[in-house]
Each structure stands twice: as structure tokens, then as C-alpha cells.
Amino acid sequence: MKIKFWGVRGSIPTPGPNTVKYGGNTTCIEIRTNDNDLIILDAGTGIHALAQTLLKEMPIQAHIFITHTHWDHIQGLPFFIPIFIPNNQIKIYGGIDPVTNETINRALSVQLQYSFFPIREAQLNARIEYATVKPGEPVKVGSATITPIVLSHPVLNFGYRIDCDGQSVFFTGDYEPQLNIYDPEDDEYTEFQSFVDAKWDEVVLAMKDVDALIVDSSYTNEEYASKQGWGHGTYDSGIKLATAAKAKKLFFTHHEPTRSDASLEAIYQNLLQNNPATGFELLLAQEGVDISL
């Protein structure tokens, strides 16, 4: 299996001299199976550059798994050029939102409206299919098996585990591990903690022994203190997950938009120093780099 990051930034694209090295596009990850089946995780702005490389392979079959419908994870969909070209087959997977009861097709249709985009949904020439995925129910793409799990975020968010040819990757999408909402002196504290612990075990099991764990690590601990409940993880929460799951490589992604290459690297050096013996490799997700597992 091969992985390539096309977007590593959280919330909003951040082009400019300070993000040249790690990249300023929002979330998009390309995964290729050994048979070259194409799986795309999220359709942030990074998907546009990915699309350029696909033009020479057409017609293509792409399987796009959306973790959640926040803007930074879907805004590249109308710019995924293969959707305009006949004979391409594009299948978009996602969950049903329990608040709106909307399926994943809305992620595209909502953008293709007169006020927001010049082309109508009916004018897309590729064959586009939508599939609703359910937590714990595996989906097959070629020799790959993709299994979603619900991970807490301000909107329904799926983490996806991809198992293929004896290798595995897990991507959290945007994920803030749930904290106890009660104070230790509250009656509800212990019980709520038992729910938190049970969910944690479920999450760790879903990412158990993966070759690559890709986590939302938007914040440092200091930043997180004022950003609890915003729906994002920290570098340390990522390390904690990777340790518990015995992952082999840990990729930090969803870089905070104001984070420059220099500050990312400073944080990274600190992490290496403070975590000398994790038993897994710590890596910053970087646009355009080929990763073989």
C-alpha cells in the first residue's frame, strides 16, 4: 500500500512562503493498493492537485471516503476534475448525519448551486455514485477493506481503517477524544468516565497494530487549554493513541492554519526529545511525499 498526502492543513488553505514545505492545502490523502486501486480520504483543497496527476490515467475509478462534511474536508470536490469527464467512475462514501438525516450526496450538491458554482450537478459527466457507510460495517474496494468508526467531532465524523494486502492505515478525520464533562466532585463523574474509557477502548481496538496511524493533531497542549470542545486533538493525544494501539508509524496532520513550517519543525523537535522511546516512528504529514509502508 502507498500513501500520499495532498492536503495536511486544518480549517482553511494557507498558501504562502511560510507553508511551502509542509503545504497549505486542506485535507486529502491518496491511498493506492498494490493493485493500484485508488482510495481517497477526504476532499479538501488538496484533491485538486491530486486530480491533475490523474488526468493521464483516465478513465479512472476513484473511491472517495469522506470523514465528515466540514468545509475543509469537502471543498475540493467540485474541483476534482475527473467528475466532469465521461467514462470516469467516482464513488463517494460517507455517513448519514443524525441531525439533518442527509446522506453524503449533499456534500457535493450543496456546493453545486447557482450562487456558489457555475456548473450544475446534472452537468457532471462522470458516473458518480454515492454510498452510505455505517460504523463497524466494512466496505470492499478491490483487495482493500475499509471500516468506519464514529469519532467525536462537532459533526458526525468517521475514522477509517484501511486493511489491504496485509498492511493497514487508520485515519481519524477530525477527532477530539472525549473528555469527562463533569468535575471529580460531581455524582456523574465516575459513570461518565466509564463511558469515556469504554469508547477509548473501542477506538484503540479500531486502530490496533496499524502500520500507519494518521491523526488530527491540531494543537499543542498549551493551545488546547483554550480550545477544548472545538473537536480537535493534540500532538500528545495522538501519541497516546498510537502507543495504546501499538501503531508502527504516527503521522501528525490537520496542521493548525497559523502554524508555519518553522514552528511545525520546532514542535516536532520537541516531540522527538520528549518521546525518545515510543516504539513507533513520529512523522509530520507533508504534502506531495510518497510513503511506502
Binding site: I96, V99, T132, K134, S152, H153, V155, E176, F195, K199
Partner: protein, 282 residues
């Protein structure tokens, strides 16, 4: 009641509004960016309608959860507070349950009955040493046991009014007169809805059988049954049923006491009533 009528009821209940104070508080808390998570959860878990709508959304087979979620707190841990908050806000947008329904059914007294039954049910669960999860499930079962009644008051007020009146005048069990005038009683209606909404089996069973205790073993239902009688005995609120049922043998064995011994043993439950009232009065 014919099946088509059941189907109609299921559709109507989709638009069922919640209780006034919780609607007001949810609107207020969700427009305050600094509102605390526990305050929001507290409002939702004290409103039977909001609770049931969240359990319905989260247990829907669309999500295919391997294990049913029975409490609002677990739902929050599973999917995150914001989604739960927005489901509650969706319920709030349907308006408020009116205090003056055509059935003359007092919804504040009903809510007080439901909330105190919930709290006592949890208390009983703790006394017999159930796990903390089971204790919170007992609260939810107590809160939801009678929600069929508020559905009747809202959508079948004329028939329900007759049932309430006859029950009162002739001192008959309400579930019996409901059967006569509506063709179905509130526990049966609750069961149909709970099944449709794919709630957990013990919860469905507790709602369905809180008036016929001979049914199979279910500790949730036993706690709700006992709490229901204790709440009525203490005259906390009013669910419209004038009769208090004695503890049958299985309940006496389960809790080691009959109704009056149990009430003596529990002592002063006034604090439960006062806390419940704080969620009711607008």
C-alpha cells in the same frame, strides 16, 4: 387499534414538541458559546421527549451500532456534544408542549411524576447494587415509562380525556380505561414507538410491561414499577392514574420490602421532588 392508526401515530409523534422549560433552556444554552456541557446534558436528560429523540437518532439502524445506547451521556461520548445539542435544538424548534391540551391532562404534573419516578428508579437500582450503567438506564426507563400518555394527550385528546375521567370517577387503573376508549394503553403505545425507534430491548420491555409485572425477568422494569408506586404514594406529581399498586411477590423479593416498608426505609424523598421541580417550572 388498527395498524394504520399505529402508523399514523408514529408519523405524528415525529413532530412531538418537548416540555416548555427544557425547550426554553436549550434555546438559551445553545446560543451561549460558553454554556457548560453538563448543563446542556442535564436539560436533555430531564426531558422525556428530547431524550427519546436522541436515543432514536443514535440507535437508528443507519448507524448500525453493535450495542444500543440507552443514556444521553453515552450518546454524548459516542458522537460528541455538538451533534446531541443540535438534535435537541431540532426538537426545540418544534415548539413547546402546551400546558392546556384538550385532554385536560396536566403536563407539568406528568413531568414531575416522570422525573421523580426516574430518580427513585435510579435510587432503587443503586440500593440493590446494580452497575452504574444499569443505574443510569433505570433513570431513563423511569423517565420514559409513561411517555405514551403524553402522546395520547397530544394526538388523541378526546379519547384520552374520557379515559382519564372514567379512571378518576370509578377509581379504575388508567391503562384499563385507555384500552376501552383508545383501543390501546399507554404502555402498549410506548412499546410500539420504542420498537419503531429501535431502543434497547430492556428499555422497550420496561416501557411495555411496567403494569404487568408477571412478565419475564427485567431488573429495569422492576425498578421502574417500584419507583412508579413510590412516586404515586408520595404524591409527587400526577400521571393521571389514581391507583397505587401493591408490590407483587417478585418485587418484594427483589427489593426485600413491600411498598410501605420501602417508603419508610427510603425516608424523606423531598429533595428528589424539589430537584425535579426545578426542571419544570418556567
Amino acid at each position: 387499534m388498527p395498524n394504520s392508526k399505529n402508523e399514523k401515530l408514529i408519523v405524528l409523534v415525529e413532530k412531538m414538541p418537548a416540555f416548555p422549560k427544557s425547550v426554553q433552556q436549550i434555546v438559551q444554552l445553545t446560543s451561549d458559546i460558553n454554556a457548560s456541557a453538563k448543563d446542556i446534558v442535564r436539560v436533555i436528560e430531564c426531558d422525556p421527549i428530547m431524550t427519546v429523540k436522541i436515543l432514536k437518532a443514535i440507535n437508528s439502524s443507519f448507524y448500525g451500532l453493535p450495542q444500543k445506547i440507552t443514556s444521553v451521556q453515552r450518546a454524548v461520548v459516542h458522537i460528541g456534544l455538538n451533534t446531541i445539542k443540535n438534535i435537541a435544538l431540532g426538537v426545540a424548534a418544534m415548539g413547546m408542549l402546551s400546558a392546556n391540551n384538550k385532554a385536560n391532562f396536566n403536563t407539568s404534573n406528568f413531568l414531575l411524576h416522570s422525573l421523580t419516578t426516574a430518580a427513585i428508579s435510579k435510587l432503587l437500582a443503586e440500593r440493590i447494587g446494580l452497575s452504574s450503567t444499569e443505574c443510569s438506564d433505570c433513570f431513563v426507563a423511569g423517565l420514559l415509562h409513561d411517555f405514551g400518555k403524553v402522546v395520547f394527550a397530544e394526538f388523541m385528546p378526546d379519547e384520552f380525556k374520557l379515559a382519564l375521567e372514567k379512571s378518576q370517577e370509578q377509581q379504575l387503573p388508567l391503562h384499563q380505561t385507555e384500552l376501552e376508549f383508545i383501543g390501546i394503553n399507554h404502555s402498549q403505545a410506548g412499546k410500539i414507538l420504542a420498537e419503531k425507534w429501535e431502543l434497547s430491548d430492556p428499555l422497550i420491555d420496561a416501557i411495555a410491561h411496567h403494569h404487568d409485572i408477571d412478565h419475564n425477568q427485567n431488573v429495569l422494569r422492576d425498578c421502574v414499577f417500584a419507583a412508579n408506586q413510590i412516586s404515586k404514594h408520595m404524591q409527587f406529581g400526577n400521571g393521571g392514574n389514581p391507583l397505587i399498586e401493591a408490590f407483587p411477590e417478585s418485587i418484594v423479593i427483589r427489593f426485600g420490602a413491600n411498598l410501605s416498608a420501602m417508603c419508610d426505609d427510603l425516608g424523606d424523598l423531598e429533595s428528589i421532588k424539589i430537584e425535579a421541580q426545578s426542571f419544570i417550572n418556567v
